[in-house]
Symmetry: C2
Subunit: 377 residues, 2 copies
């Protein structure tokens, strides 16, 4: 199931398109030294799992970095295929596209499910806080090893957008352009939604303080966390159009006087059946500790933290930035993305703002890729 994302679990992407986009190479890069983290802790010689598409040219100046979101993977060709369409944002003929799995994830890079070389045991809940900037620092070493000194473009949505901006701040000489989609530092509502998702996992009878058995993970809790997340990735109008007040399509009756689960529950509405299905699909492909680890990377990202001014936070940026807000996004509202772009512009940085008009909510950058491509052209 590796490589599936919100777009696929929620809306499906074309299997034909996915099949066409096999990576040129997929493998691991192991840092030759420990990664000192923003938190002051260390990650011992971490591994970055990555995939590349296309070929690096002789001048090594055709590299593009794509950054994935919360539950994505390095296989960008599988979860963002339309970005590679004819005349779209990326070209397999001209670009060398790299995508690197986030630290903390369960798709190949070092995460809570990895063995800590310092102890010989799995990190589990002891996995340290890895910031977005820590990820960028580690990714830079992978690019160094590939001899890539110039990135024509860095782009990503959601947590991917956090990385795309952090790249422009951290490594201004390397980045020519960053496209930052559907993201700003998480709002109070966003922090609240993540707080609920954490509790959903921790309340699971099988949670065991994060030291759950591999064969007995906190499935109910992770499913509920995913369902809370799905609410925030989608929009009320989309739910209304698709589900309204229809009973679940499998024939359950919300008005039944009693059922096997007890009268206090009753048959489900269609939206409930949909959410349960999303939760079920998710627990087969993702790890609860990884989910918590990346939520924390997301929560704590705030490039203005500890800075006295936008100039101090963003003044180093040399790249041309493009921000994309999504009209129906309520996790990262279009307004918050636009305001964030304006703050960065006030530091003298070139930062434009564009808006996707979509009913798909936050998920639109994955669910409506053709529209996104149109907007970025």
């Amino acid at each position: 199931m590796r490589g599936m994302t919100e777009a696929q679990t929620a809306t499906g992407t074309s299997p034909a398109a996915s099949r066409l986009l096999e990576p040129t190479y997929e493998g691991d890069f192991v840092l030759d030294h420990d990664l000192l983290l923003d938190s002051g802790q260390c990650l011992t010689t971490p591994t970055l799992h990555y995939a590349v598409y296309g070929r690096l040219n002789a001048a090594r100046d055709n590299a593009v970095l794509v950054c994935h979101a919360l539950t994505g993977s390095a296989l960008v060709g599988s979860w963002w295929p339309e970005i590679f369409g004819p005349g779209a944002v990326l070209s397999l003929e001209h670009d060398f596209v790299i995508c690197i799995n986030l630290l903390g994830s369960c798709y190949g890079s070092t995460g809570p499910g990895s063995v800590n070389p310092a102890t010989g045991k799995i990190y589990g809940p002891e996995f340290p806080l890895v910031s977005i900037r820590d990820n960028v620092r580690a990714q830079a070493q992978l690019l160094d090893s590939l001899g890539i000194r110039r990135l024509r473009l860095v782009l990503g949505g959601s947590i991917g957008g956090m990385q795309a901006l952090e790249w422009a701040i951290h490594d201004p000489q390397r980045v020519q352009r960053s496209v930052i989609i559907g993201v700003a530092p998480l709002s109070a509502m966003g922090l609240a939604l993540n707080h609920l998702q954490r509790q959903a996992i921790q309340n699971d009878p099988d949670w065991a303080g994060g030291n759950y058995l591999p064969q007995r993970p906190p499935r109910l809790g992770l499913s509920l966390a995913r369902q809370i997340g799905m609410l925030s990735y989608k929009s009320a109008p989309l739910f209304e159009e698709r589900f309204a007040r229809k009973p679940n399509r499998n024939g359950e009756d919300p008005w039944e006087p009693n059922d096997h689960r007890g009268a206090l529950i009753g048959g489900r509405f269609d939206i409930a059946g949909y959410l349960d299905h999303q939760g079920q699909r998710f627990i087969d492909r993702f790890d609860a500790n990884s989910y918590l680890a990346i939520l924390r990377s997301m929560d704590t990202w705030d490039p203005m933290r500890g800075k006295d001014s936008p100039e101090e936070a963003f003044g180093r940026i040399r790249a041309q930035l493009s921000f994309v807000g999504i009209s129906s996004d309520w996790l990262f509202t279009a307004e918050s993305v636009r305001d964030f772009a304006a703050i960065i512009r006030s530091a003298g940085v070139k930062a434009d703002y564009r808006e996707m008009n979509s009913a798909h909510g936050h998920d639109a950058f994955l669910a409506e890729q053709v529209e996104l491509v149109r907007l970025l052209q």
Copy 2:
């Protein structure tokens, strides 16, 4: 803790105001026969717990019925005190105000915590589905017993508004005016939020299929359900204004590398501390099975279900209806309330629409009572 509501747990109401509004009478009414439910099941001689304020006049034509929301009680003077203010909506001098606890609740009326006379055991998860209309039918018998043939006004917000409308449909000769605040049949997003809350409770290690021990209720799950609910009662702008990205006021550090709960969790932000506090307060005052029972009453309410036209659903209404939408409400959007009023108006019913301009979200009818009073005058 009886009588506390969203307004109090979320925003606090004046203790001084609460003390002034003691009910004239608070007691139980036991139906002298079984209540046949819409579901086809029966509730054996149920009890309605109710409170009255003011005095019934000799003509018995000064009665007002106030209907409470999900976790409210019959003590309307405690949770809606400003409605009784000088020159406000209700007058203790001129009105006889009645408020009746919902069936299924844990504040005195028959609910899952009551003994089923038919079995001698507590209903628990076997408590039947009680519709909003079932509640109205039972309440009508209480009013009959008090000799009240005329209601000058029926009013309520949220589930209280569902009852206020159902009263106008069910008993058109008795109701002169209904005020229906912040409500329409639940949308797909609303059904989704309730589905998440149910799972939060059912996933609790102490849930025991609803047969939890009284001394060991599913506290974590009920707390999480309440927190999910709080998100939907409030608004993102309000959270942003109050909490933004501030660390929890007790000094926790969201950026700490490690804490006693493990590095994957970390210190809380202020919004998380607030939500936890709301959850903690709630589990001391409410029962999980009652919560599930009333969620189901809420989910299944749809006066248009099984009707061929607005005329068939609403044509019997003789009361003047006033609908109130709340600008920042995303559980029952102002647009959905306005559209619902228009559908009812299309059946030839007198139904006006007003809108509260408030950042408080769904909770505004409890949190900004003075503004509500102004709108209703």
